[in-house]
């Protein structure tokens, strides 16, 4: 049998042809979805979430009679990916935004205001959305997004642990006072390895105590830090004391994976501060539990209310804009939010979808009563256009107070000048955005 040797030249030709073919194939692969496709972006970090969004896709296709293409990304990588898509003009027609990111995106002009679309659409019922969701989705007096979930922080309690200690469960509707809550937390921290309370040593949890004390991160003019105001200091000191002086919380082992939910699910913690979005995960608990309103401080029970929304990138125009608006309405419709709520994901942002969010736990309905202003209260999360930086700054220094390594005034002394600069930048960004509008 004779072999036919491959010459160097023919090998090179083959390699070059292969390279060209691969380049061509890759170029072909980079083309986007066909026109008329309803593309939308969302974070998704678990199989359960994936199922919900697949159900959303089916609902979109059934309702709109177009192909639905969702771009799902784990939540940690969602924002960087969205940024790159927005910059490169490859973002979906509709993108999900976490509420605290809306001012950041709106001020930078990455997403368009929706007021003109809302005004000329008689079918869109804006009043069906909770006021807190509307507030979270707005910036500089304009609506930049439409909410799909919204919820206040609540207090989870371990019913089994309280029963064992012979303590009656807290009132289902009347928020505990801070003093009563602290007393209970200390009492339930008695036995070794048992703790009265858990939350993350970060601003996202601390802010509920600050609001309930009547304080805020920024002053009313939004041009300076208000963390050193007497009201804010009351809130910060109360929570830090639970960690450092009363020692009713599990010890902090690291600053990255510290997880209130994991602590609570151990079964040896009496109370956990968290949002109702964790209800689905707590349903796996091996003990009896329920939720009650957030404890009432000097300004009442006004925990952080946060939520997420859908928005339309600025670059979407013409027929695409019409499709994007119809898609956004479908994704935030009562029918879609019913799917979301039935999966137990979170509290839907519309009054009309509320009935789908059902027990367990027995007192879950309290979330809607809080949002409707019938029980306790809530405070939409006030954030700045540079909240990433504010959050980063606070995340670097605040935990040191929770660790007892630096006093609260010591932390604030270092933080306040830096926060003041960021607040002034925020004020300028708001002014600029208002002028541009």
């Amino acid at each position: 049998m004779s072999s036919s040797p491959c010459s160097r030249r023919s090998l090179l030709k083959l390699a070059a042809a292969g390279g060209l073919a691969a380049t061509g194939a890759l170029t072909g692969c980079s083309s986007g979805p066909p026109p008329g496709t309803a593309t939308w972006s969302m974070w998704s970090s678990s199989p359960e979430e994936l199922k919900v969004w697949n159900d959303f896709s089916r609902y979109v296709e059934k309702t709109m009679h177009v192909r639905s293409l969702s771009s799902l990304t784990p939540s940690a990588g969602y924002a960087p990916k969205l940024d790159l898509q927005l910059v490169s003009g490859t973002a979906s027609l509709v993108t999900a935004l976490n509420g605290w990111m809306i001012p950041t995106y709106a001020a930078r002009g990455s997403h368009r205001a929706l007021d003109d679309l809302i005004a000329r659409d008689p079918d869109f019922d804006r009043d069906d959305f909770y006021p807190a969701s509307q507030s979270i989705s707005s910036f500089a007096g304009k609506t930049y997004a439409i909410g799909f979930d919204v919820a206040p922080a609540v207090l989870y309690y371990n019913k089994s642990l309280l029963d064992k200690a012979g303590i009656d469960p807290p009132s289902r509707t009347e928020p505990m006072t801070w003093a009563a809550f602290r007393e209970l937390a200390i009492e339930l921290s008695g036995p070794k390895g048992q703790y009265g309370f858990t939350c993350a040593p970060l601003m996202d949890d601390l802010i509920s105590w600050i609001y309930s004390a009547g304080g805020n991160v920024m002053n009313k003019k939004q041009d300076a830090s208000a963390l050193d105001s007497p009201e804010s200091l009351d809130g910060i000191n109360f929570l830090v004391d639970l960690f450092v002086k009363d020692r009713v919380t599990p010890p902090i082992s690291n600053l990255v994976t510290e997880d209130a939910l994991a602590n609570f699910l151990q079964g040896n913690v009496a109370f956990m501060q968290n949002g109702p979005w964790q209800v689905l995960n707590v349903r796996d608990a091996k003990f009896a539990w329920d939720i009650v309103p957030f404890p009432a401080g000097p300004a009442g029970s006004t925990p952080r209310v946060s939520g997420s929304s859908f928005a339309i990138p600025s670059g979407v125009e013409g027929d695409d804009l019409d499709l994007a608006w119809r898609l956004l309405k479908t994704l935030t419709s009562t029918g879609a939010l019913d799917i979301y709520a039935r999966a137990g994901r979170n509290n839907p942002a519309r009054y009309s979808a509320g009935s789908a969010f059902e027990p367990p736990p027995a007192n879950l309905g309290i979330v809607q009563q809080i949002l409707a202003g019938k029980v306790g209260g809530g405070h939409p999360y006030d954030v700045t256009t540079n909240w990433n930086r504010v959050k980063q700054l606070l995340a670097q220094d605040l935990p040191r107070a929770f660790l007892g390594e630096v006093t609260v005034p010591g932390v604030l002394r270092g933080l306040t000048p830096q926060l003041d600069v960021l607040m002034r930048q925020h004020k300028d960004a708001v002014r600029q955005a208002t002028e541009d509008a």
Binding site: G19, S110, S253, L255, V256, N386, N388, Q392, Q396, L403
Partner: protein, 314 residues
């Protein structure tokens, strides 16, 4: 036309042929050379050289990614001076590098010497010791988070057995950076070990025998034979380790997120925060250029020192 004539004494070994000048290459050979270069040259130009040039341009702009950029000259570089976080990040990075690299070298060299003692099943040991290096940094970082848990973590439990009350490693101002260093040394010693082992095995045994005949002690053999002949490998490991240590990012992000305070914020982490959390692309690019210059200077100094400290076998 001038003709170059080479002469050689009869019986002398043939002289090596002088390299062919590019001008004498035939067209097809030039084309072939370029074709062979292309697979590495094109990605290098697109993914390395291009971004470096782009970073230089972006460092002169004020750009938040979404709005049109505006030219600000050297303003982003001027901002570095009064930025305390930048200086903290720089000091942290230098501290990390100058502690991690020597420790890694020592551990790598010690293990390479141990493996070079004619151990049986050396390939098995070598593979086992190389495992940390081959494992993904983020996975290793999570394992070390568990090791460092103050109450019930393996390290503090071991210390407790000796009556030592271990600290809360990753949240302590004092211990967070040493904790990162220890993890990084464990993660990276395998690379140096393999290079050193290859270097050790390339040293001719006759040199050790000659040293022994001359009455040299084991320490003297190590100092005057092993170290000089291992110096090229050592130089390579030092240069690559310093460069990678200056770019430390993932372990600090996963284990401490730069905290407590900014005690473990490294330069690359700060660049990431500036560019992708604060949306200040220009300022982030300016920091990148400074880091690039810093690494270039340090590497240049290493190459200068190489002339005096590194012995090549020629």
């Amino acid at each position: 036309m001038a003709v170059e004539v080479h002469t050689a004494a009869p019986g002398a070994p043939p002289r090596p042929r002088p390299p062919t000048s590019p001008g004498r290459w035939r067209g097809s050979e030039t084309l072939a050379a370029w074709l062979f270069l292309l697979p590495s040259l094109v990605p290098f130009l697109i993914f390395t050289a291009g971004p470096v040039v782009a970073a230089g341009v972006i460092s002169l702009l004020d750009w938040n990614l979404f709005s049109p950029p505006s030219f600000v000259g050297l303003h982003n570089f001027a901002r570095l001076g009064p930025d305390p976080t930048f200086w903290s990040a720089l000091v942290n990075t230098v501290y990390f590098t100058f502690v991690t690299v020597p420790l890694t070298l020592l551990v790598s060299l010690a293990l390479a010497l141990l493996l070079n003692q004619g151990l049986k099943r050396i390939a098995v040991f070598r593979s086992l010791l190389l495992l940390p290096y081959a494992t993904i940094s983020v996975a290793v970082a999570f394992v070390w988070i568990w090791l460092y848990i103050p109450h019930g973590g393996l390290i503090n439990s071991l210390l407790g057995a000796f009556g030592i009350d271990g600290p809360a490693w990753l949240v302590s101002d004092t211990w967070a950076m040493p904790a990162l260093v220890a993890m990084s040394v464990w993660k990276s010693f395998g690379f140096g070990m393999v290079i050193f082992l290859a270097g050790l095995q390339a040293i001719p045994q006759q040199l050790y025998e000659a040293a022994r005949v001359d009455g040299a002690s084991p320490w003297r053999s190590f100092r005057d034979v092993t170290l000089p002949l291992l110096s090229p490998a050592m130089f390579f490991v030092v240069v690559t380790s310093v460069i990678s240590s200056f770019q430390v990012f993932d372990q600090a992000l996963v284990m401490t997120n730069g905290g407590p305070g900014v005690h473990t914020t490294t330069l690359v982490m700060y660049i990431y925060q500036t560019g992708f959390l604060n949306y200040e692309q220009g300022y982030a690019a300016a920091q990148s250029i400074v880091l690039f210059a810093f690494i270039a200077v340090i590497t240049g100094m290493q190459f200068l020192l190489q002339r005096r400290l590194v012995h090549y076998d020629n």
